[in-house]
Amino acid sequence: MSLPSVEVAADFKDALQDLKQNNRPEISNLTIIAKENTEHAQAISVELENHIRTTRPEWKLPALYVLDSIVKNVGTPYTVYLGRNLYRTFMDAYTLMDQGTRKAMEGLLRTWKQPVPESMEARPVFSPDVTRDIENALNKYSKLAMQHGLPARPVSNPAWRNTPTPPQNITRYAAPNDPRVRQPFPPTQQYGHFPATPPTQYPSMQPYPQPVSSSHLEDLKAEVAKLIATTQNAFASNLADVSLRTKLQALLDLQKILNTQTLPPQQLEAVRKQVQALAPSTPYPNFVPSVPIQPPQQPLPMFPPAGAPVNIAQLLANAGIPAPPSSTPVAPTPSLADMLRRVSSPAQPSSTPTPNLPFFLPGFSAPPAIPTSVPAAVPASAPAQTGTPTANLAQLLSQFGKPIAAPALVTAPQQPNSLPQLLAQSPSAPTIGSADWLINALKGVPASTTPSSSTPFPSASMARQLSAPINIQAEVELTTASMKKPRLHLISKLYEAIPNICATCGRRFENTPEGKQKKARHMDWHFKVKDPDAAKRGVHRSWYISEKEWIDYREVDETSPEQTSNGAIGSSAAVKKQAKDKYVPVPQDPTLLHAPCPICQEKFDPRWLVEANDFVWMDATKVGGKIYHATCWEEYSKGAGIPTPSTPDSVLGKRKAEVSTPASAKKVRAY
């Protein structure tokens, strides 16, 4: 194994490229590669850092997990090599992440400050010098985020979310039960007047002073809110749909504009029309009751932070395929960009505080002091594709930037040092705050930081990721040439990924609670079938099952919870013990053993009964020293008026009516 570093690094890189989700086997496999090639640690570290820097934002976290796994499981020299650039590696990624992922990253950072669990080593994973810098930077961001009034945590219901700028004091469509929403109104009003359900909320908002055409504005906002909710639902059921994601983002942004800016009535009217065109099914006065309430289980981060310019090309490629499952059309990204250009170019940079977003810290939860700055004044891209209205809306939106100047917004001056630096890495990074920058940043949004898609990422366990992969990547193409490529890293899927091996038969189980349960049942099964006397009891080959039975047959794994055995029929279904379920143990007495049923003169079929842990004759009963078919006896005794011994309640007398449950591997008669 004296491969040059370049080659090892290239292999490692190849394997990294495949890592697109939080996939434990792949991560552990990468770790193993790193472990086995510590002499090439430097090359591997560089490769890993490069990968984290250059890969798409949603693939950065898995890559960071690889880093984490390597430093924890292998340790030096990786901690040294990776530690050198850790600040940059970490912060570069951090700025591009959505809140959920950031949280996960903060979690990582926390563990790096501690020693590796269950290890003898008392020192932290990375030296405190390394982690301290990162912490400081994060603290700075959180301060900044606080000053800018960015919301701390995902709001569960963005449809009702509101982020007004105080000077305008526009009535917001706020979630009444969400205390985190900032309210310019006294809280008593908020909670006293607003009923808990959104539908009734709307009328009660009317009395509040509205600067401009408040009713229209409210209508419009509600309309948008509804669209958002619909889109979210659609998106929730189809997380992989980039176009939906884009659309949702645009709608959220439009909502922000509406909430934060004062628009001339005619503009509002025009926007309203556009929005209504998107949801024509709902009549305007009645829209409120029909607003779907967001299911609580999909908390969405409220402010998706902007992505970096790095990903634009990729994102565009993704977003360029509109596949809207819902009825509402989706704007292609280019038009969004166009609109953004129009929107933001005339505006003062300070009115669009998007640049702050990367520094917004999810962990931060104090109520913002100045609820002025709204992450982005972004036009809705959704209506843009409806065809003819596109231009109108675009024009409308293009004016959004003008009338606003949120007072005393601070952005660029307060940028932490790292921002320019970060941005400088991207060769094409435009000036912060410029229209292009904003456009780029927003273009980065859909893929890196969708509200919905970000939630499952940090929260989902590895197992879930494994069991429900949304995008299965064909790792090995079906070509003759591809078959010859060595892919040793895949082997771990057959071994390390399922580490819990049964010593008796070599079957492997996952190291999960479920896997352990399966193994326990598997071991039980081994125990059950281990019968030293089996050979003496005349076990024989069963008939094969017929075509029809086979088609209906379903394999029963010995590890599945319902160990369907022959006995299950009697125990579960039949409270009433039926004659054919009766059995006697196969007699030892040779005369009895070979004697047929005295009634029908047919022999008994011995068969293994799990319940009895013995070979038995089913459908048999012992009466007066002789063994009869239970069904025969029953028929006979009914006629003769002799009471059936032991189980008197059996009435079903169809002789030999065997219940052939497909699941039971029992004997099937040939006729």
Partner: protein, 465 residues
């Protein structure tokens, strides 16, 4: 037809070997990615135990604390990570090979596996795989490896055997299909079909049809049987979601890979009937090139990926003598069980000539001359030539009869298409008394169903002594 309890011949000592108490064991170290290849004759036994590391036998991992005994086996133990084996007994030949095709086979698995993942996500049918190649090119080994890996990956794939030379969970001359949810057995070929007692290896539930001839290219029942089998498998996969996702893998006979002037009628038939979409071609360049040409450019039809895999260096030509022994061992193990621990007790019975409805499969050549132009698909309905009613005679002595699910008076094509309940062995024919002594796998009546008798597998002398 009477079963005679007294005439119990089950004591036939099927396994004449007395395992020498593995006196001398030796340690075999295997480096990563190498394999230990061995051949053991039928009279001897080789034991293998894994001491450390990991090792697999045709894809099925060896249990760390199990000792495996091989008889009449040509096999190999491969290791991905390196291992140490303890080997006992004597092998006819054994060596360690460093060059294996396992990488390409495991790639094949992962390629198929990603299609399974896609199927799980989308709900469409899983991959349909057909393995073709000349005789002794490692088709069955590849199918076993692919099956084992699939099972290991938590799938429940379907294995279909269309090679009459070796039975899968049944006797030679049969075709069978089975879904695997538990590990493929190591010692006993594919494992065991259900028996009446507990089995130390999870039993498999096969669907069995009887082909009864050695060569799929002969006779006229191969295609109809493939069609029938495909129907059953497709129906099962319709409903059985676990198997549907995992798809199926078909093992085929080397004889259908010879082709007639570049046309592979039977391969094409299998592909179309089963809707195969992945074709692994083992070894033969020519077969690969012919099939690629055939399936590369078919606009408007389901694409079939044709992939060539190299033949493993471990494939050995198996002599006809060995194959015959292998077949006899399979038949023996159908009645008596495999190995010493899982001894089964078949039952011996007497039957009158009149009780048996035996149909002999007509050999293909004759039929062609009888019914010119009545071959191929046309033959489905016109089925008079399929069977000839056979009166028991010494001709059928020592042969196997397939018990079909069809009644004796069913039409020949019904008999042909019906699956098999099991096999009985004709131990003796008494032409004077018009009695037949039968060996049945289990006590009780021999069913009055139609019994099919073919020229393959050949007679097994002295199954019952």
């Amino acid at each position: 037809m009477i079963a005679l309890p007294g005439l119990n011949l089950t004591s036939a000592p099927a396994e004449p070997l007395n395992l020498p108490a593995a006196a001398a064991t030796r340690i075999q170290d295997l480096a990563a990615n190498t394999e230990y290849r061995f051949e053991v004759s039928f009279g001897r036994a080789l034991t293998i135990r894994l001491l450390s590391g990991t090792a697999e036998f045709f894809g099925t991992e060896l249990g760390p604390s199990a000792t495996y005994t091989f008889q009449g086996t040509k096999g190999s133990v491969f290791t991905w990570h390196g291992c140490k084996l303890e080997i006992g007994g004597q092998a006819e030949s054994e060596y360690v090979a460093e060059e294996t095709q396992m990488m390409s086979y495991v790639n094949a698995h992962f390629a198929v596996e990603s299609l399974r993942g896609r199927s799980a996500a989308t709900g469409e049918a899983g991959p349909g795989v057909l393995v073709v190649g000349p005789n002794s090119s490692g088709k069955t080994a590849l199918v076993r490896i692919l099956m084992s890996y699939a099972v290991k990956s938590g799938r429940q794939p379907m294995a279909v055997n269309l090679d009459p030379k070796e039975g899968m969970l049944s006797v030679p001359g049969s075709f069978s299909a089975v879904a695997f949810s538990s590990i493929v057995d190591i010692e006993d070929g594919w494992g065991s079909s259900p028996i009446s007692g507990p089995s130390p290896i999870p039993v498999k539930m096969p669907l069995v049809y009887h082909y009864g001839l050695a060569n799929p290219e002969e006779g006229k029942i191969f295609k109809p049987l493939v069609t029938r089998m495909a129907l059953a498998v497709t129906s099962r996969l319709e409903e059985d979601h676990a198997s549907r996702q995992a798809g199926f893998i078909i093992d085929s006979s080397g004889l259908i890979a010879q082709g007639k002037s570049g046309v592979y009628d039977n391969i094409e038939h299998i592909i179309s009937e089963f809707s195969v979409n992945i074709l692994f071609v083992l070894g033969s360049e020519r077969l690969y090139s012919d099939l690629t040409r055939k399936y590369s450019n078919r606009p408007g039809e389901e694409p079939v990926s044709v992939i060539r895999l190299d033949k493993s260096g471990g494939c050995v030509d198996r002599s006809e003598e060995y194959m015959k022994q292998l077949r006899q061992a399979q038949i023996r193990s159908y009645f008596f069980g495999h190995g010493t621990d899982a001894a089964l007790a078949p039952s011996s019975q007497m039957a009158d000539f009149d009780d048996l409805n035996i149909f002999k499969i007509s050999e293909g050549q004759e039929n062609d001359s009888f019914r010119p132009g009545n071959d191929g698909d046309d033959g489905y309905g016109a089925s008079n030539g399929i069977y000839e009613k056979e009166t028991p005679s010494s001709l059928i002595q020592n042969s196997l009869l397939a018990i079909t699910t069809a009644a004796a008076n069913d039409r020949p094509d019904v008999i042909r298409d019906s699956s098999v309940r099991g096999y009985i062995y004709v131990a003796d024919v008494d032409e004077v008394k018009k009695k037949v002594k039968l060996l049945s796998p289990q006590p009780g009546h021999t069913p009055p169903n139609a019994l099919v008798f073919g020229s393959f597998p050949e007679d097994v002398p002295a199954l019952v002594s």
